[in-house]
């Protein structure tokens, strides 16, 4: 990131090569539209180029994932005719995992950890994470009582934390 702050184009292109699949994948899962996912990817990387100071340390992977989610959420908002209050709050961009912790958490390990959850908890967590919807909407779509959704999300996230082990258990 220091090189990108110094306007090093080759450093930026290397960063793009390393992370565009993640950004594109998040946007595609949330938007279900290849063109929109491509636009989000462009926007996210333009943000990194024009405002690298927005990244203030910690895990770059976690940060860029949140930026991608928030940008995809913006797109969902712009598409939506629902009142703002029915859409989730955006995520703060600082804090969270350190880069060294994230380096130990690869996709396969997270998928394995998710697979250990009861199906009803896993479905809620994945739909919530990639759906860009609120817990009320989760309850409606899965025909599950609201109180049950709350309990399952918390319980599922705690089990996932335990399954991922060191690093996210602090």
């Amino acid at each position: 990131m220091d090189r990108i702050r110094a306007r090093d184009v080759s450093a930026f292109e290397a960063l793009y090569d390393g992370y565009h699949r993640l950004v594109f994948g998040i946007a595609l899962r949330m938007l279900g539209d290849l063109g929109a996912a491509e636009d989000v990817t462009q926007t996210v990387f333009m943000k990194i180029w024009t405002a690298p100071e927005a990244f203030r340390g910690g895990s770059f992977t976690a940060w860029v994932s949140r930026v991608a989610r928030n940008r995809a959420l913006d797109v969902l908002r712009s598409r939506s005719l629902r009142p703002e209050t029915e859409l989730p709050a955006e995520l703060p961009l600082d804090g969270g995992l350190d880069e060294d912790v994230f380096a130990r958490i690869d996709a396969e390990r997270v998928r394995d950890a998710l697979a250990t959850l009861p199906a009803e908890q896993r479905a809620l967590i994945e739909l919530g994470f990639f759906g860009g919807i609120t817990h009320q909407e989760l309850a409606r779509r899965t025909e599950t009582p609201l109180g049950t959704v709350k309990t399952r999300v918390r319980s599922g996230l705690r089990k996932l934390r335990d399954a991922l082990g060191e690093g996210v258990s602090r």
């Binding site: 594109f24 595609l28 927005a54 709050a89 955006e90 703060p92 995992l97 999300v153 934390r161 602090r170």
Partner: protein
């Protein structure tokens, strides 16, 4: 005041917030809770880190043609920008990027409409174009306000939950200072009497008189999370009192609290 949620209910909301599925209108309730509860903050950070990890499962191969096209488009913009030092200055500060692209697009659209007005031949067409311009200007202003609000909201919750923030317990809640930003996160505030509001006060280091700050009222649950528009690093104390609607220039009632800041 509505019945306050139990601690277990609040911890469930914390998990929903960590996953990113809590509606915006409940974010302040969670923010106030996180600001005041050490265990809740620890769980929030752990669950948010867990939720962050889910993102890596979304990474997937992008087909080579699309990948090359995306990189080519982006590289062309980056190289053009890198070749023009003035371009970066035009883009403005980091905080503005989210809506800058939207505003630029809206402004371009406005220009296009204005240009097209030149070829209109009837008053009716001109009036219609003017109405469209007015509508667009309103939408641009609304987008600016919404984007600014969202940036402040993200910053606020990040600050309230931050492990490195300074916290001062006060009546009905907590005062949180992080860097030069200061928040009142109050969760058990009774509604003010009719015709009254709560007003925050600040005392600059070395000063003798309190300066008036924002006025506010709690929500139905007695929750109010307020960012004071002040440089916290220059403050010696913060206070809260009940004042007539519209606020006062000097406190007119006994303060609810006066909190020195170290």
């Amino acid at each position: 005041m509505n019945d306050a949620p139990t601690r277990e209910e609040m911890m469930e909301l914390v998990a929903l917030y960590a996953l990113g599925v809590l509606p915006r209108d409940q974010a302040a309730l969670v923010a106030a809770f996180l600001a005041a509860d050490d265990d809740a903050r620890a769980e929030y950070h752990a669950l948010r880190a867990t939720a962050d990890a889910i993102a890596v499962t979304a990474a997937e191969p992008v087909d080579s043609a699309r990948s090359a096209r995306m990189k080519e488009r982006l590289s062309a913009r980056i190289r053009a920008d890198a070749a023009s030092p003035a371009a970066r200055r035009r883009i403005g500060p980091a905080a503005g990027w989210l809506w800058a692209a939207g505003l630029t697009a809206a402004a371009s659209l406005l220009l296009a409409i204005i240009s097209s007005v030149q070829v209109f031949t009837t008053q009716g067409q001109l009036a219609q174009a003017n109405r469209r311009i007015g509508t667009l200007q309103t939408q641009v202003a609304q987008a600016q306000r919404t984007a600014q609000f969202e940036r402040q909201e993200r910053l606020m919750i990040g600050d309230l939950a931050a492990p490195d923030a300074k916290r001062y317990d006060v009546n009905d809640g907590i005062v949180v200072v992080r860097g030069d930003r200061l928040y009142l996160a109050l969760s058990k505030l009774p509604p003010p009497p009719k015709g009254k509001v709560y007003q925050a006060w600040t005392l600059a280091k070395g000063a003798k008189a309190m300066q008036p700050s924002v006025t506010f009222a709690p929500n139905a649950e007695g929750v109010a999370v307020v960012a004071l528009p002040v440089d916290a690093s220059r403050l010696g104390a913060v206070a809260l009192s009940v004042e007539p609607d519209g606020g006062s220039k000097a406190p007119t009632s006994k303060p609810t609290f006066v909190q020195p800041l170290s």
